[in-house]
Symmetry: C2
Subunit: 386 residues, 2 copies
């Protein structure tokens, strides 16, 4: 709503930083403690002890399932992986369209089509069960869409999902056509769980703004995907790996890092706007990487140590730790994911968090509509004749 | 960014009402005066004296064109109306997908595809000229996409755009295959100009949030279309007309309205959250409708008078005037637009406003990222074993 004389405009920090736009029971991030949680549980503990489907259930239903609930929910989501025929037919054209624009642009189009095709209705016109059913259908389909688009882009036929595989194993299977080793599937599953949600961010906020108008679920998700595709938001786990490639060999670590630090350049994979401590996701992913071992892991650990040491020397007091990108890239590389699929893999988990936020926001019915302040020349000036 | 201990959360009214999220030179709404403006000019005066292309130029470039500028800009936008081959090929499938979900869902998919296919790049990676070129390409294509999807949905072949027709005349031509009477084309042109922008609203805000992440132009527009499709935002100019149909005959006006007013029901086409006076768009559209005359117009004017009189009698002090929907519906009906195209026609003009907001927001480089407050049970609770 525009500002009117009746409502004095309210000034807040740029970018709405710190402005509380909603209450949430979905989770939070505690930057000083290096801790984040989904509902009342540590997200890292969930990633270490539970399946992806368990946490999906937690986010959608508010509770962790028991054994019977897990089986039922897992079976239900596995059924929803299959591409509807009309969406499948449209995917080759969508894959061609995003050759330049990238996989998130392809997902944006494909999910928009799939949601319309499934007849998703305005969120305020349907009840909570129907909304959750739509959210389940959309989020279950995302890995299938992403892997099919990727394969089509490579000139390969999409691989049909398998209902007998857990979420992460099926994701890797659809990507490669090979059933993954259990250790790799589990590593990716832990990564995916850890990235379902992470406090409030621009894509989650976008999803909630669109939800607040009462639009359908696909409209909300498509907006969130768009926001995630922005370089200031989505980041790119592949960038940190590109940095490791650029450094190349152990003896080049020190000169490379010194040069960057002295030039004041950002080092990809280091630093986070919220965490003052180590990023808890990074800590977990480093452990997973170390479990695999090998030269890439050794090199990554060495780079991490040298960055921290050189920063302590050249910029004392400016602590900088690895963020989620650094070891996520290493883990995804070790598990055979191609780099262009790093951000889409992130999106395949985050869609569950977006959906949970949409379901929560849809319980409210207040439109989110801030104001702008006009700062141009005073109107009305006469319109010049032509 | 999530709230951290370093940044105390800032409480504001629900839905961010009145919270200033940005400065803008694009325009504003003055609810108490019944006045709104694009840049420094009265929007209604622009609609009465200028072409759609003139105002599009004003919104994108900041100035009204002179005669030579008008000719060049009009020719440039006319060129951009044509569907790229790959988008054309995909439209039948998209039209089928939105049979249930409606034309805005179709536009969402088609524009997502078209933007990817055109290779739109992240807004922060390109300069202002390139951003404006993308915005021009996207907004020029929207009427072609909407009319083609509508015709395909009716089992008709799309009509190729004509570069020799002005914007509004070409829109009606692509919809019907017939060159429109000049008076009708001009009536629609005035409506379209009047609806390019209208202060800050949820779709404009969505577009700006996505822009703030640096995403590409299609990502921003697709989010805005999604927000507009929400019943709390987009409204529906066809609803007011449906009300006229429901009333049916002059002698039924009074009992029908009395019943609604006494029941406390909302009367579609009346009331606006910002305007305390008559909606200036409504005033202009009523004049246009009266210029055409005929039984529908007479009936609409009668209903308007009776609603105001009955409200004055039953709810003294509660002034309620027609909003833009009321006479917009009448004018579109008189100009031969089918009712399901009323909201899409609105979107075909509003896309210019969204693009202008995106171009303005892209000059900033601060991500829009508010906070949420966690209100669930205190973490961490131990994760139960399964």
């Amino acid at each position: 709503m525009p500002t009117t004389e009746r409502n004095a405009p309210i000034d807040v920090p740029r970018g709405l930083k710190g402005v509380v736009v909603t209450d949430t029971a979905l989770g939070d991030v505690r930057g000083l403690e290096g801790f984040y949680h989904y509902r009342q549980y540590s997200a890292v503990e969930l990633a270490e002890t539970r399946t992806f489907e368990d946490v999906w259930h937690l986010m959608f239903h508010g509770t962790l399932p028991d054994a019977a609930g897990r089986a039922a929910f897992t079976a239900r989501t596995a059924e929803l992986r299959r591409l509807p025929a009309d969406v499948r037919d449209a995917l080759p054209a969508i894959a061609r369209s995003c050759a330049l624009a990238g996989p998130l642009a392809g997902l944006r189009t494909a999910l928009s089509l799939a949601g319309a095709s499934a007849g998703f209705r305005p969120l305020y016109d349907i009840d909570a069960d129907r909304r959750r059913a739509d959210a389940l259908a959309a989020s279950a389909l995302v890995p299938t869409l992403l892997t099919a688009l990727h394969r089509l882009g490579q000139g390969l036929a999409p691989v049909e999902p398998r209902a007998d595989l857990p979420y992460a194993a099926n994701y890797l299977y659809m990507l490669t056509g090979q059933e993954p080793e259990p250790a790799r599937a589990r590593a990716i599953e832990r990564y995916l769980i850890s990235t379902i949600d992470h406090g409030f961010n621009a894509s989650t906020f976008t999803a909630r703004v669109i939800t607040s108008t009462g639009a359908d679920l696909a409209a909300c998700l498509v907006g969130a995907i768009g926001a995630l595709s922005g370089p200031l938001h989505g980041g790119a786990p592949s960038r940190a790996l590109d940095t490791l490639d650029a450094i190349g060999t152990p003896e080049r670590i020190d000169p490379w890092i010194r040069e960057r630090v002295l030039a004041g350049d950002r080092i990809m994979g280091f630093g986070h706007p919220v965490y003052r401590t180590e990023d808890p996701r990074s800590r977990m992913l480093k452990e997973i990487a170390r479990g695999f071992g090998g030269p890439l892991v050794d090199f990554a650990v060495q780079v991490e140590e040298r960055v921290e040491a050189i920063l302590a020397e050249l910029k004392p007091g400016r602590e900088l730790h690895t963020n989620v990108e650094f070891y996520a890239g290493v883990v995804m590389e070790l598990c055979g994911l191609p780099r262009e699929m790093f951000t889409p893999t992130f999106a395949s988990a985050r869609v569950v968090g977006w959906c949970a936020n949409i379901l929560e926001q849809a319980e409210d019915s207040k439109i989110i509509r801030p104001a702008a302040r006009y700062t141009g020349p005073p109107p009305p000036q006469p319109v010049p004749a032509i």
